[in-house]
Symmetry: C2
Subunit: 298 residues, 2 copies
């Protein structure tokens, strides 16, 4: 079975490395011809969580082969429109797996003419070191949920599951993406605005108070999470990742576009549909967007 | 009539210079003996808004003389406790004029045993250049309102009013301080968090949207301002001071304590008494306080 992964960023490289490690037939579809050459010449390298490095021979190209048995889309939300154009030549029976953060891509993806569409929520950490080298930064499952078609077309991916890269199947794709986006609302915008590592959100008295108020607001708007996500878990997450720079802060510091729209914006929209207000989150959302408008500060 | 001004920061120096210019008998009470000597040796210098510089001979000392006819308190809120100790030796009949921002000092000041107490709301801009040199950065009135005792004990100050330093009397001291603090809530916290000059609040789309939402929230909580303060005036203020660094941002950048508590904190408390919620302002308040907890960012 030929798996083609569109996007050789941190997530695409990491997923490719774990599939290759389990002898899957993987091909990375890169944005540039150069990166495809670099991958083929240097092989795909992965620095593991324990500091060791593994190397995997990998196939790569700058365009889809046209006969993949499954296509995994691992580009960021902002690049999806380009990818949708590439997919126009692909057979509608080809199963498609989306690996984006947030909810913004969900409805759009389901309007594509493909018969089999699934979504992923990845819980691992990945950091791109160079065009062919990725670091695994925190073990966590890759959750897959089928939203259109039959699970059978994706279930064979379970064979590539491993201890350090667990592949698990979930029932409701939208609920799964919502849950992940909801969780992302706690650490990402606050760290991006205050420009501090995650741990400072619980070490600074006032940041902690704000985090608590945000939690209460989020639970009021999404009571379905009240049972499974207690405030203590948000605190524990800050503790566990105390030294980490959140992805949103990293984007702000680098002057890149953040995922504020697809994560926080989507949650606000979702709440709005249910007539729920999120004034704290809305304030954080506008502050991050205002920061994005110019990378420069005084 | 001997006027003694406690505090030779930007505001104290500027007020002293305008009173001295009108031939008032002014004495600056400095924190250190050195600053008093510097003021006496070098005279008091003021760079005017038009770029010219004026020089005034000035008396100064590190402690109160004990026979002032009026005492003006021009220290920041945080230094008031020290000043209250100095005032213990002062005759309770001496009129006292407070020149602080915000509302936090109001109740405390009125509990002092003095018979004549008035408050100021200053609308001018001042920047301390060195121990004896201040720059006038924007013309605006010094509003005085008597809160305890009789206006007659302060009204002679009106004689020192000038075109560039208008002294005007208001009726209700608390309402006057509330109005100034209320206005300060728009530009100060937002510029401090985003770390941008005032004009960016209306130039960045998302900051502008947040400013608008904040305005609506503030008007809902303080409907008494709805008639006199339209959103257009907030926008005009940002335009007029587009290049300025707000005092709160200047404090954050210098790692100093800000006036968040006495300005924004006081407004939130005031609203709370009337059972009004200010979730956006409360979020900004906690963010500025979290920024204060450490001057360092990543």
């Amino acid at each position: 079975m030929k798996i083609e992964i569109i996007g050789a960023g941190a997530v695409g490289l990491l997923v490719a490395s774990f599939l290759a490690e389990k002898q899957a037939s993987v091909k990375l579809i890169t944005r540039t011809e150069q990166q495809a050459v670099q991958l083929k010449v240097n092989n795909l390298m992965r620095t593991n969580c324990d500091g060791t490095t593994s190397v995997f021979p990998i196939d790569a190209a700058a365009s889809l082969s046209g006969d993949a048995d499954i296509i995994v889309i691992a580009v960021k939300y902002g690049q999806l429109q380009d990818v949708f154009k590439q997919l126009q030549t692909v057979k509608p029976t080809t199963p498609i797996l989306f690996l984006q953060n947030g909810l913004a891509h969900y409805d759009e993806a389901l309007r594509l003419p493909f018969h089999q569409i699934a979504f992923c929520s990845v819980q691992f950490g990945a950091q791109k070191i160079n065009e062919y080298h990725v670091a695994h930064k925190g073990i966590g499952p890759m959750k897959i949920a089928v939203a259109k078609g039959e699970k059978i077309f994706f279930s064979h991916l379970g064979a590539y599951s491993s201890e350090r890269f667990l592949i698990v199947f979930e029932g409701d794709a939208e609920a799964m993406l919502l849950e992940k986006a909801w969780l992302n609302c706690f650490i990402n915008p606050l760290t991006a605005i205050l420009q501090v590592p995650n741990g400072q959100l619980i070490q600074r008295i006032d940041a902690f108070q704000l985090l608590k108020k945000l939690y209460n607001e989020m639970i009021m708007a999404f009571p379905q999470f009240a049972e499974n996500f207690h405030f203590e878990q948000v605190v524990a997450l800050c503790e566990r990742t105390a030294e980490n720079t959140s992805s949103m802060l990293a984007d702000v510091l680098a002057g890149r576009e953040t995922e504020i729209e697809t994560i926080v914006g989507a949650i606000i929209k979702k709440a709005h549909i249910d007539n729920k207000q999120l004034p704290i989150l809305q304030t954080l959302y506008l502050l991050v967007k205002a920061l994005e408008e110019s990378g420069e500060r005084m």
